[in-house]
């Protein structure tokens, strides 16, 4: 034993033990790698690469940089605050001329348009006329559209000139840069993203809490019933999984809308007046009800898997030691289910934060979540960079939450099944 530190151990025929061990295990290791290789490739192609691309998009946008090279060159050689001279106008005019032939002028306009609405059409219309333009270009451009004299436009173009910028993250946090380059809040009526982030996290927390309140007793029942009965109930819990998400969400619309089943019954019972039917659909209530229903199994299953192996003798022991049933629950049973609560809550919360289809269908205006805005930017406004920045912020928030959970509870205590 003492000589283990003195000299490395060797095999019987004098080879180093470590090398022999590595050789002996290499075959098994190679086979293990081959087994996981398909999944590894799949994850790389379908998960790591898209997310990397998304993160890249959120800081890099070369629509302007690539298509207005002369203008970018002028901004680089002239410090901020220089009024545009004839050379600057010439750069713009020639870039637009090239852009018209290559049909890339609208792209450059789109990039400026993100920061200064209305400029996309300016770029397209001016590019159409640029082919006939003669020096002096300043007069020609101003004749084409007087907006070219706007200092704000030039400040914006200077700002979007670099391909890599934090503009989209600022925009995603309702911030922008003023003419002097200071970070300021956007005007009151344009602040939407922070409010949406808060609403998303608030609604997700509410849904998680409701799922916990409703799922805990069900999981306990499932865990304590005899296996045959609990299997039957488990099917009822899992039944929603086997039904289309769309069908379930639509079912809630049928139930909860203004002329829906629930309102009809309430009116028939005389609980509410026919003129004042409850608004339970196309608002936050609709989003909460439908999402709670859809996410409930994700709370029940981890709870069940933690509760099932807790033997009833713990509760009996506590009772025999003099604890009331409430004390027994609070001090003996509940603490042992914490890993399940943590796992279920984390799962439901993370799913809820990124949920898209249900709020889109039943959320109305007040029930929209951040994911709906991300989808809007990716599909409608085609501002992929802003959509990517929002998604990246969401990702960071979830990772932060995961880290916090690990610090507070410990990720090794997480138990999914």
């Amino acid at each position: 034993m003492a000589d283990t530190t003195a000299a490395p151990l060797t095999t019987a025929d004098g080879k180093p033990l470590k090398a022999a061990l590595a050789r002996a295990q290499s075959r098994a290791r190679r086979r293990a790698l081959l087994l996981v290789l398909p999944l590894l490739l799949f994850i790389l192609v379908s998960f790591v690469l898209p997310i990397g691309e998304l993160l890249k998009q959120s800081v890099e946008n070369d629509y302007f940089t690539a298509n207005m090279p002369r203008t970018v060159q002028w901004f680089q050689t002239h410090p901020a605050g220089t009024p545009p001279d004839e050379a600057a106008y010439a750069a713009v005019a020639l870039d637009l001329k090239d852009g018209y032939t290559a049909r890339t002028a609208p792209l450059a306009g789109t990039r400026v348009n993100y920061d200064m609405p209305g400029t996309r059409s300016l770029f397209t219309s001016t590019a159409r006329k640029a082919a006939q333009m003669q020096p002096p270009y300043k007069d020609a451009l101003l004749a084409a559209d007087p907006k070219w004299g706007d200092p704000m436009l030039w400040a914006t173009m200077r700002r979007v000139a670099p391909a890599i910028s934090d503009d989209f993250y600022l925009a995603a946090l309702d911030r922008t840069r003023d003419v002097n380059g200071n970070i300021v809040q956007v005007s009151q009526d344009q602040r939407i993203y922070i409010m949406l982030f808060m609403r998303t996290f608030g609604l997700a927390a509410a849904i998680t809490f409701i799922c916990f309140l409703m799922g805990y007793p069900v999981a306990h029942l499932l865990a304590t019933l005899p296996l045959r009965k609990s299997n039957l109930l488990m099917i009822l819990v899992l039944l929603p999984f086997w039904t289309s998400l769309l069908v379930r969400t639509t079912a809630w619309i049928v139930l909860l809308q203004r002329e829906g089943v629930v309102n009809d019954i309430l009116v028939w019972l005389g609980v509410v007046d026919n003129q004042h039917r409850l608004e339970m659909m196309y608002n936050q209530t609709g989003t909460i009800v439908a999402m709670t229903h859809i996410l409930l199994p994700f709370m029940i299953l981890p709870l069940y898997s933690v509760m099932r192996p807790i033997p009833p003798s713990y509760a009996r022991a506590a009772r025999s030691l003099g604890a009331t049933s409430w004390t027994t629950f609070r001090r003996i049973y509940f603490p042992q289910t914490l890993p399940g609560i943590g796992a279920g809550s984390l799962l439901v919360f993370i799913l809820a934060v990124g949920y898209y289809i249900t709020p889109a269908l039943v959320g109305g205006a007040s029930g929209q979540l951040i994911s709906n805005l991300i989808a809007f930017h990716l599909q409608n406004s085609l501002n992929w960079s802003l959509g990517s920045a929002l998604a990246a912020l969401l990702l960071v928030a979830v990772i932060l939450l995961y880290w916090l959970y690990d610090r507070l509870v410990g990720i090794d205590k997480l138990k999914l099944g």
Partner: protein, 367 residues
């Protein structure tokens, strides 16, 4: 049934019945009185109703009929946490999320005891089971035997008058189990508590108990002190269940002066003590302990009947020789002889005559 061995009735089962499904009785009319300070063991095969009785006493099952009294007070309607009964569970049921100290503090905390008093009591309880150094460990960091001691300390820390133990040593290995049997026995003696102990291990029951209640089929088959139970079983179930036992079926030929003559199916005559046979012609099962059988003629009581036997197998067990014989047509007749100097080792195929003192053979009801 037998009367309590000593003192006053502390625990009483009064015509208690229990049914789970309303169709069959798991416990059939149980009457049992346990004295203060007594160590009573409920022994029986699984499904005999012994654990159900313990659970009814602890308050986890309700009696379908009858009354259970603790210290003269009916407790049928008293919830378990107000009964003040300590209990040791089969798998210890130590709370896994608490340290040993917290486990022991739990019954004291729920009784609203102050911190200083709690600590003193925990210390005393841990010292009692020689686990004083383990207070800050978690149950998962303890071995099975150590967990067992902690479970014992936890059941005793709030100084209950009555402690129930549900097969507490079942998960331990043989050596540790035997050691713990003596420790529990000594704790019982030094603390003067009443213990009701459930087990299916007859040697455990014999070692520890003041009295043993042998359960089968929802009834107490015999309630007696260990020696009486072993030496004078009242029926063939008890004779079979406790210790090793040879049984010879036959018919009573005559009863005279506390001695019965039984004719076996193969025609031989043997001597026995009548237990639950009364007259000639009755079917009976004669039960004889393997260690009470002699094969050396000089050791047989004078005038005793002998019976022919053929040696089938000889097993050397260290302190004992265990020899299997063919007797009266059956192949599972066993005799045990102590490995003393000069003890003869029988050879397979050898023909011998065996016999016994009439009081060691008991003519019981045929099963």
């Amino acid at each position: 049934m037998a009367q309590p061995a000593k003192g006053d009735a502390f625990v009483e089962f009064d015509r208690v019945q229990k049914s789970y499904d309303g169709e069959t009785l798991v416990v059939k009319e149980l009457n049992l009185t346990i004295a203060k300070g007594e160590f009573l063991t409920m022994l029986g095969p699984s499904g005999s109703g012994k654990t159900t009785c313990l659970m009814m006493l602890a308050g986890f099952e309700t009696a379908t009929h009858g009354e259970i009294r603790l210290d003269g007070r009916p407790i049928n309607m008293v919830p378990p946490h107000k009964r003040g009964i300590g209990m040791v569970f089969q798998n210890y049921a130590l709370f896994p999320h608490m340290t040993v100290n917290e486990n022991l503090a739990f019954p004291l905390e729920v009784r609203g005891m102050g911190k200083a008093e709690r600590e003193a009591k925990i210390r005393r309880a841990l010292d009692m089971v020689q686990m004083g150094a383990f207070g800050n460990r978690r149950p998962a960091q303890l071995s099975g035997g150590q967990q067992q001691r902690i479970a014992l300390a936890r059941a005793l820390v709030f100084e209950p008058q009555l402690v129930l133990m549900d097969e507490p040593l079942g998960a331990l290995d043989k050596q540790l189990r035997e050691h713990m049997q003596f420790e529990i026995k000594h704790l019982h003696e030094s603390l003067g508590i009443t213990v009701v102990y459930v087990t299916h291990d007859q040697s455990e029951a014999l070692t520890m108990s003041d009295r043993i209640a042998v359960f089968n089929d929802g009834r107490i088959q015999q309630l007696a002190a260990p020696a009486e139970l072993y030496e004078q079983p009242q029926n063939s179930f008890v004779a079979q269940f406790i210790g090793e036992n040879n049984k010879l079926p036959g018919t009573v030929e005559g009863i005279e002066g506390g001695r019965a003559t039984v004719r076996l199916a193969t025609g031989e005559l043997i001597d026995a003590t009548p237990v639950n046979v009364t007259k000639q012609g009755q079917k009976t099962l004669v039960s004889i302990r393997p260690e009470r059988i002699e094969f050396r003629p000089d050791l047989l009581p004078p005038g005793a009947h002998t019976i022919e036997a053929e040696v089938l197998e000889f097993i050397y067990m260290g302190d004992l020789f265990r020899t299997r014989l063919r007797v009266a047509g059956s192949d599972d007749f066993v005799i045990k002889n102590r490995n003393t100097t000069g003890q003869r080792r029988l050879m397979p195929g050898e023909k011998i005559s065996i016999g016994w003192a009439p009081q060691d053979a008991r003519a019981l009801d045929p099963m």
